[in-house]
């Protein structure tokens, strides 16, 4: 790991790779995930799923299933008249269980609850459902064709406060949302151009593969609901559950144990409403633990078809960019409207472009629903846009590094009107990657190198809170609503609290993700936690220190001078630690001082986005021309994170993100048949990277203190995924002359492209 640091030195233990605080639990098997939990009296649920991609449900007969010994309940939509069964993040279009119509193969139709999982499984086979097949739409092209079957006849309500300030636009019954991004005089930009490059690109339907499948346990008691779930955003799940079951949010408790991977796929509400409905009807606590194959059918990533044109001056400066993006969201909106909004924003890249006109349609098809996935619309558009930067460089006779350097915005410069200025030094980041790739020395024969870069409007919404509680022994308990999904927030946030309170790290306990025990956080996603939750902790710690100073004046000073000191106060020059202050102020047994921290869209966190997340990667590749196999020989990432609170964890995030991008560039794809069946819906055929696939890796951390967060930090962990596909495609082009326009770049696709090249195509 190389660290390039121009920021001031932060207080200990900031910037130190302290060991992860969940380490012993995770290496001994003691870490409890939702899938490991059981509740006394708990029953097990299994789901009857649709074999049809689009069908009306004529009848459901559960009598044989109910008659099986050990079966407690068999629940379909007809049994849930007292429940608001429609939920969804952006649009409430998703019934928690099929409501008279199924819209994809794998949709839940009946939920079985039994004494044990095996009995529930047996009962699944006994449910008789009579379907009337309907015409199907599997591709985005078919969805917009004349006379296309309409997938949603029912009008879905837009949910408030879900990231859309405006009403979601739609221009076709199968368009779930239409987002546009437009500024400058686009016609002038293209009319006066020296060069226009134009083309089509395809990005695959992907699957995040969080290794822990979706799992939830629901228990009703005294009119309230408790749900344990492997989810990223417990407070949003709480809101959706409150809505479904007409409960005050305060009567819904969502607890998130350790989470076995998320990557955006556990953002928002998934199986929690269904699990709670089954528990309600069964009158028992219920656990619903999906398999991985069922998880693939629950949420996938948005595939994309992109038409893009970029206009350049003779010196390689961008004049304008037009793009039409079609995202395949499958049967339900989930969070794809926001993915579409972000895809429209992000396809312009980190460049100064005078005129941009982008439309992004999120389109319904009869396939499994798509939603958030690491990168959130960025990888799809970046593949197209960064491929085009290299095409332009080649046509203009420019170095691909140089054309990027001529176009990236300067620090402080806004990418489009009204947004936060660029909080990164992109030119310097490009230079770091080039240096690591040995850019200026020609590669070996048959090798190609490329650099690609992205900028994402990140951080989601700046809405979060924290409490910092100082006990009578001076130890510190911090509560935040943010979820530890493996990214290391339980370590990093504790480091921030220790630094801010001036106490050793082992005096800090962090409590996360129990909506009845901790204060609110909007979400764990968009790389926002270190930056925004970190600010909330800093603010709560400052509040606690101010209260402690007052308490010391009140109870310890005796007219003497009180001043702040590390880990406590000085009274007439004598140090009293926080515990002594708490004990003196309460003048009795125990006591606790509680500091509050709020982050909202105001002050330093008013400008949006909260920060720009940068992806800047380089690769060197060679291609086996006989087989079409691409070999990545070197992968370089820059983590431009402002201040790495824990460098080891930042590096691990960058590598993990880049390898996920590598997987989708090289091999990962969910493939649907024309009749709506998923061909690669399992871990045998959906091939994620293995240890033997990993290329040599160079990690660089750029720490310039330019983020809005604590000590100049800003988010990381998604950026290094976004440009990987374009970098590999561009490097393959430099190695072979072949331009790849469809990811993943499987050996077959590469081999065919090489054949076309050799045929003079």
């Amino acid at each position: 790991m190389k660290r390039v640091t121009t920021r001031p030195a932060p207080p200990s233990p900031i910037g130190e790779s302290v060991p992860r605080r969940d380490g012993v639990a995770k290496v001994t098997g003691a870490a409890r995930f939702t899938s490991d939990l059981s509740v006394p009296g708990m029953a097990w649920a299994k789901i009857v799923r649709s074999p049809y991609p689009h069908a009306r449900i004529r009848s459901v007969d559960t009598s044989a299933a109910r008659a099986l010994p050990g079966v407690i309940a068999a629940v379909s939509a007809a049994d849930l008249a007292d429940v608001e069964i429609y939920y969804g993040h952006a649009l409430a279009d998703h019934p928690l269980i099929a409501d008279g119509v199924v819209r994809y193969v794998g949709e839940a139709v009946v939920g079985i609850v039994a004494e044990d999982a095996a009995t529930a499984d047996e009962a699944v086979a006994l449910v008789l459902i009579d379907y009337e097949p309907l015409p199907v739409v599997i591709t985005v092209e078919a969805a917009l064709a004349d006379g296309a079957p309409i997938i949603h006849e029912r009008e879905a309500a837009q949910r408030p406060h879900r990231g859309f300030e405006e009403e979601i636009e739609r221009d076709h019954p199968n368009v779930c949302s239409l987002s546009t991004q437009s500024y400058g005089d686009i016609d002038d930009a293209f009319d006066g151009a020296h060069l226009v490059v134009e083309g089509d690109f395809r990005y695959p339907i992907s699957y995040a593969y969080a290794m822990e499948p979706y799992t939830a346990i629901a228990e009703w008691s005294d009119g309230g609901l408790t749900v344990w779930s492997s989810c990223q955003h417990p407070f949003m799940v709480r809101e959706d559950l409150a809505n479904c079951f007409s409960l005050p949010q305060s009567r819904v408790r969502v607890i998130v144990p350790f989470v076995g991977g998320g990557y955006g796929s556990k953002s928002y509400t998934k199986i929690e409403p269904l699990t709670a409905a089954l528990a309600l009807r069964a009158g028992r606590p219920v656990k619903l633990a999906l398999s991985i194959d069922e998880s693939i059918l629950t949420t996938r990533g948005d595939g994309a078809f992109i038409h893009i044109a970029s206009a350049f001056d003779a010196d390689g400066r961008l004049r304008g960019r037009r793009a039409e993006i079609a995202l395949d969201t499958g049967a339900y909106a989930e969070n794809s409207p926001l993915v579409g909004r972000k895809a429209a924003n992000r396809i312009a890249g980190p460049y100064r472009i005078p005129a941009v006109e982008v439309t992004c349609r999120v389109i319904y098809t009869n396939t499994a629903p798509a939603s958030s996935f690491r990168g959130f619309g960025a990888p799809q558009g970046n593949f197209a846009a960064e491929s085009q930067m290299d095409e332009a460089a080649e046509k203009l006779g420019l170095d691909p590094l140089e054309i990027r350097r001529r176009n990236v915005v300067a620090p402080g410069e806004a990418l489009w009107p009204g947004v936060r200025g660029m909080d990164a030094d992109l030119d310097a980041d490009l230079g770091l990657v080039a240096e690591a790739l040995d850019w200026w020395t020609p590669p070996a024969a048959g090798h190609g190198r490329a650099i690609a870069i992205s900028a994402s409007d990140a951080g989601s919404e700046p809405v979060t809170t924290s409490l910092v509680r100082i006990s009578a022994d001076g130890s510190v308990t911090v509560t935040v609503g943010s979820t530890e999904i493996g990214q290391g927030s339980s370590t990093v946030l504790a480091q921030i609290a220790a630094a801010e309170m001036g106490v050793p790290l082992d005096r800090v306990q962090l409590l996360q993700s129990d909506t009845s025990a901790v204060s609110y956080d909007r979400s764990t996603g968009a790389s926002r936690t270190t930056t925004l939750v970190g600010l909330a902790i800093q603010s709560a710690a400052a509040d606690a220190r101010a209260q402690l100073l007052d308490a010391a004046r009140d109870a310890l000073a005796n007219g003497g001078a009180v001043e702040p000191a590390p880990g406590g106060v000085l009274v007439d020059g004598v140090h009293h630690d926080w515990g002594a202050v708490v004990r003196a102020w309460f003048a009795g047994a125990g006591g606790e001082i509680v500091g509050r921290g709020y982050v909202r869209k105001a002050g330093t966190t008013q400008a949006m986005p909260s920060f720009w997340e940068i992806g800047c990667v380089g690769v060197e590749v060679s291609v086996d021309e006989a087989t079409g196999q691409i070999w990545v020989k070197h992968l370089v990432t820059v983590g431009d994170v402002g201040c790495a609170i824990n460098p080891q964890l930042v590096e691990s995030q960058d590598l993990g993100a880049a390898i996920m991008g590598f997987g989708m560039a090289m091999r990962e794809e969910l493939v649907y048949t024309p009749d709506g069946n998923l061909l690669s819906g399992n871990l045998v055929e959906y091939r994620v990277p293995r240890a033997g696939d990993i290329p040599p890796f160079t990690s660089i951390l750029a720490e310039r203190g330019d983020g809005v967060g604590v000590y100049g930090a800003k988010g990381g962990g998604e950026g290094s995924l976004n440009p990987v596909a374009a970098a590999i495609a561009n490097a393959v082009q430099r190695a072979t002359g072949v331009r790849l326009r469809q990811a993943p770049f499987t050996p077959e696709r590469v081999w065919r492209a090489l054949q076309e090249r050799d045929a003079g195509g």
Binding site: T28, I292, L683, G692
Partner: protein
């Protein structure tokens, strides 16, 4: 209902007797009947390695291994790696280099690497990669895991120069 059979296992050095149905997997029995939830079930088709445990020292996928086939054999799970509260060198190396993020693959990864190091106490990097190639990790990009296994091997070699 299936028949019930009595199964005797030595799990993490302790002899255990459980009543199981012949159809139950070793993963089911360890997790649901013996409360050893360290091993994880993910892909359920012997691809991901999250359910790896050792049977008589051999790494197996407990998700597709019938519990009855482990009868009268020695089973080692991640809960059995630490001795008297002291982490194994491999467990410690995983912590030292942060060879995990979410931790869901970690128990299986540790067991696969334990089997590797037991067969080959001083593996090369390539041998480590081959040894864990049947265990998926979606978080780390594998590099820290490979480093951890190499570090554990080096620590063991250093502490036992005779081997």
């Amino acid at each position: 209902m299936s028949e019930i059979v009595e199964l005797n296992l030595a799990v993490n050095g302790r002899s255990r007797t459980v009543l199981v149905e012949p159809r139950e997997t070793l993963a089911d029995v360890l997790r649901e009947r013996l409360g050893l939830t360290g091993l994880k079930v993910s892909c359920d088709v012997q691809v991901c390695g999250a359910c790896t445990v050792l049977v008589d020292g051999l790494a197996v996928s407990a998700c597709t291994y019938l519990a009855v086939d482990a009868g009268d054999h020695e089973v080692l799970t991640v809960e059995g790696l630490a001795r008297d509260g002291e982490l194994s060198p491999l467990q410690q190396a995983f912590i030292d280099v942060a060879a995990f993020q979410c931790g869901f693959c970690t128990p299986g990864m540790l067991m696969a690497a334990t089997a590797l190091l037991s067969d080959n106490p001083a593996p090369t990097r390539e041998e480590v990669v081959a040894g864990i190639d049947g265990n998926l990790c979606r978080c780390t990009g594998y590099v820290p895991i490979i480093e951890a296994v190499l570090a554990a091997a080096a620590a063991r070699t250093a502490s036992r120069p005779d081997r």
